[in-house]
Amino acid sequence: MRVVLKRFALTLFVSSFAALGFSQIDSSFVEEEEDYSMYDDVEDVGEITTYCSPKIFDLSPNRFLSIGYDVTGTGTLKTSNEGAHKPDDNVARNDQSDLNYHGIRLNANIPVISKSKFVLQVGGGFNQSRITTNQLANAGDHNTLLDEISGGLTSINLNTTLFKPLGETNFLILQLMAEQNGNYTFGSSTEGPDLANTKYSGTALWGKRPNDRKQWGVGVSRTYRAGELNYIPVVMYNYTAANRKWGTEILFPARAFYRRKIDARNILLAGYELEGTSYRLYNTGFNAQNLELRRSEIRARVDYQKQIKGFVWMGVQAGVILNYAYNIDDLTATDNKDFYRGFFGDQTYTFSNTLSPMPYVNVSLNLVSK
């Protein structure tokens, strides 16, 4: 009897520590014998509808919050005199300056609603381009223009993105953005920003996600990426190769990247992004008072993204900025309202300018979701 009691006591002693161990499980793999084939044949109890996911395998991480800094090398700005010049005129430049930009970039993209059947993200951005220049002292209109932008160019935006799955493979994306862009700076006594000058853009895209490695779509966009109001078709093509080493992230013409996955925590992207918008020039020293700087640039770059810890990633971009547009329109003739020129319009610019290519680097710290 005593032997039995002893064994019982020892068994309880051991089992109590086993129970303690189980309550603090840290092993992810369950090493127990189980006949997994019993789970092959099942029937539904609950009912759900299957929707396609907004992602595919191995896309670069989605940035919830991002803080970055942008620095360019020197480019040469050549300006025309104030007057009517056609965009394709080979106008005689009356002066030129070297300049470069630097500035902070803050972006947030919060999934307000994020369910299988509906994703709604709301975001905002603050992008600053502070300018450094070797402005010439005796250069008339050129000098006046440099005065306009020497305080820096600021862009603030609010945006929202809706992803709506239409069943298991089709989806719809709607994106809207309102921007306040100009040569204003906060805390200064200068004019601006003015809500009347808000720029609105948007994209509607219908797509298919045939499998976990591919999604594509077609749509239309109202955009300022080329510097001025435009309506263009857009094509999405995100792809990951079967070996999951490489892929593409394309939303043409806004951006197109080749993606190389070094490993799950290191990603390299190579390609370009078209960035641009229209900036209101407040407190202008020109005769015209309703000026808009149509700025657009193609950023050809290599982008290295690395996980630092958990969901904190860093990004380093290096490349060349090809300045596609740096012209100025006067909106006086259109009652201070923006107008559509498109690629083929013959409206003349008030200033036709060029800015030469410049190298650039951008570093950022990001809170992401993979």
Partner: protein
Amino acid sequence: MKKIITLIGALALLFTISSFTSSPASVQDGGDDIIGLWEPSNGKARVKIEKIGSKYYGKIVWLREPIDPATQKPKVDKNNEDEKMRNVPLRGYRMLKDFVYDEESKEWSGGTIYDPESGSLYSCVITMKNDVLDIRGYVGVKALGRTDTWKRIKIKKKN
């Protein structure tokens, strides 16, 4: 000596009993409703949720594509941040861990969900309605996350 062993036995018995009776999610509350077999909305896996001690865990018991086409071997956790875990089979993997049921809010919280496709571990909260789970994985705060729905399934009875 005999007395000491008997005393240890009695203490162990008391400890064992108390460790089960002090559970915040005892059988009487709704916490155990989550126990069973579930399928995520993408249908790629089946997960068995079980209770161990006072907490709830879910392990992958079935994969729609159990073989990795790259290696022609059973899929392993190759995206795991921890290099030592990358050879661990996905079938049998405990992807839901450490959930505690809160009777007041009717949710299972305090746990984590692991996404084998990205190798990411998210904080997670689970709610249930009509044999459907809303599983929200998030980064830091609940606002930064995504909710998936899982349906309850059961093993078909053999005739």
